[in-house]
Point group: C2
C-alpha cells in the first residue's frame, strides 16, 4: 500500500503517540564528539542518533529546512539523507517538512515537487498569505499533509494575526478558510502552544482536523493546556512538536539518551493531560 | 567598498534601469540544444546565456529558489553557481533571492544565513504573517534588502489581503508596518502588477521605499499603469520583474537573443511610461 500521511499519522495516534521531534540541528550545538569536518556527516550522525533514540515514541519527525539550508549544499544533502534514514528505519513514522513555503500557484508546483517528490516528505507547512488558490498544488496532493500557519508561536504573532475583521480575528478567519480547503482530508493547521487559548478557539473552528502545535520547550509553550484544548472530539487530532528541548537536552556525549529521556517525559506529560 | 543592496540598486536606477529578470528555469522549457544529462549544467548554461544577454539593461536579477529546489541537490548547486556567475560578470547588478521565507526569529537567523552568507544574495523576499518581530534577523542586515510580501500577484490574493480592518485593508496595514520596520533603510515591499490600483495605494503609504512588482508577462500584469502608479517622488523606487516572458521568449536556440529583445522592449515600455 502506498504511503498516505493521514493514515500514517492516525495509526500513530491510535498507539497513543502525539509527540513530534523537530530535527533542527545547529552545528555549534552538536556535541564535539559527533562533529566531523563535514557538516553533512555531522548532521546525519547526530540526527540518526536522535531518530534511533526516539522513533518508537513519536507520531512524526519534523525537520525544518532552514537549519540545513544555512549550511549550503552539505546541509541540503544532510536533509535528504535524514529523510531517507527515517523512511528506512521508521517507515511508519511520517515526516513533516516544516518549510513554511508560500508563493503563487505556478511556483508552488515546484515547492510541492521539492518537498514531496524530491525529499519524499509526507507533509509540509505552508503560508496562508496568498490565499487558498495559491496553495492548490499542495492541497491537490491527497496523500500528503498540508499544515497551514494559523497562529505562529513567536512573540510578535499578534501583530497581524490578531487583527479584527467584523468581530473575528485574522487567525480565526484563516482557520475557517482551511476547513474549506480540506476537500481531500489532508489539511491541518499550525497553532503555537505559546497561545493555548487560541488553540481552543481554533479547535472549535476546524472540527477534528489535525493541529500541529510547536513551541513547547525553548519557547515556553504550555503543554498541558495545549493538549487539553487542542485534542479533537476523538481525543486525538493533535501533534505536540518539541525541537531544541529534546535534541539538545544534553550537549554532551549522552545527547541521544537525554533526548529519549526528555521525549519520554513529554510523552508521559501528554498522556497525563489527555 | 563592501556591497550594499540599496546603493547597488540606486545606481542602476540612476542609469534608468528598472527591469528585473526572473531567473526561474524549468528543465522541460529549456531548449533541447542546451539540455545535458546534468540538471545543474543545463540550468547554469541556460542562466549564463540569459545573464550575458540582459545584464546591461537590468536593475537586478531575481532567481526564485523553488525552481531549483524542485531539482534537488543539482538544482541547489545550479542556484549557487548562478549567483556566483552574476557576481563575477555583473558585479554591479544586485541579486534578489525570491525565497518568500518566513519563520519565527530563531529560525529566520538561519534563513538569513542561507540567503545572504551562503548564496551571497543582496536581498530576499519574506512573508509578513508572523509579524515584524520575527523578521528582525533579516531587517538587522543593513547592507541587504528585505522585500516584504504585501500584495501578491495571484488571482486569489484578495482572499486575505483585502480583508478590512477598521476601514483599511490587510495589505495596507502590512504596508504601513513595513515603514516602521525600515530603520536601516533596507526594506521594500512586493506588490503585483496584476493589481495596479493597489500599487498606487501602497506607494502613498510607503513613501519612497522600493516596490518590487512581479506579474508582467505570463501573469498579464499592467506594465504602464504599474510604472505610472509605482514610481516614487524621485521618479525611481520601483522594480518591474519579468520572468517567463523574458527567459522563455523563445524556446529555440535563439532564446538568449529573444530574451534580450524582449528585455529591450520592456525597458523601452518602462521608459515610455515614466
Amino acid at each position: 500500500m502506498d504511503r498516505d500521511f493521514m493514515r500514517l499519522l492516525d495509526s500513530r495516534w491510535e498507539q497513543g503517540l502525539f509527540l513530534c521531534v523537530g530535527l533542527d540541528p545547529g552545528y555549534e550545538k552538536i556535541p564535539q564528539s559527533v562533529r566531523s569536518s563535514s557538516v553533512e556527516e555531522t548532521f546525519l550522525t547526530f540526527n540518526k542518533a536522535i531518530i534511533d533514540a526516539t522513533k518508537d515514541i513519536v507520531c512524526a519527525f519534523k525537520p525544518n529546512p532552514a537549519f540545513y539550508e544555512a549550511q549550503g549544499i552539505e546541509g541540503w544533502k544532510a536533509l535528504q539523507s535524514t529523510v531517507d534514514y527515517i523512511h528506512a528505519v521508521a517507515p511508519d513514522v511520517p515526516v513533516i517538512l516544516d518549510a513554511k513555503r508560500g508563493d503563487i500557484g505556478n511556483t508552488n508546483v515546484d515547492y510541492a515537487k521539492m518537498a514531496f517528490d524530491n525529499f519524499g516528505a509526507d507533509a509540509i507547512t505552508v503560508q496562508p498569505y496568498a490565499g487558498g488558490e495559491a496553495l492548490e498544488p499542495f492541497l491537490d496532493r491527497s496523500d500528503k499533509g498540508v499544515f497551514v500557519l494559523v497562529r505562529t508561536s513567536n512573540g510578535g504573532a499578534r501583530e497581524f494575526q490578531d487583527l479584527e475583521i467584523g468581530g473575528k480575528k485574522l487567525y480565526e478567519i484563516v482557520s475557517g478558510a482551511t476547513v474549506g480547503w480540506n476537500k481531500n482530508g489532508n489539511v491541518g493547521v499550525v497553532v503555537g502552544t505559546t497561545y493555548p487559548k487560541e488553540i481552543g478557539e481554533v479547535r472549535a473552528i476546524v472540527g477534528d482536523m489535525p493541529i500541529l502545535m510547536p513551541g513547547v520547550g525553548a519557547q515556553g509553550g504550555d503543554l498541558e493546556e495545549s493538549v487539553r484544548l487542542g485534542k479533537n472530539s476523538k481525543g486525538k487530532g493533535f501533534i505536540i512538536n518539541v525541537s531544541r528541548a529534546v535534541i539538545f537536552a544534553s550537549q554532551k556525549d549522552d545527547f541521544a539518551e537525554a533526548a529519549r529521556a526528555k521525549s519520554q517525559e513529554l510523552h508521559s506529560a501528554i498522556q497525563k493531560a489527555l
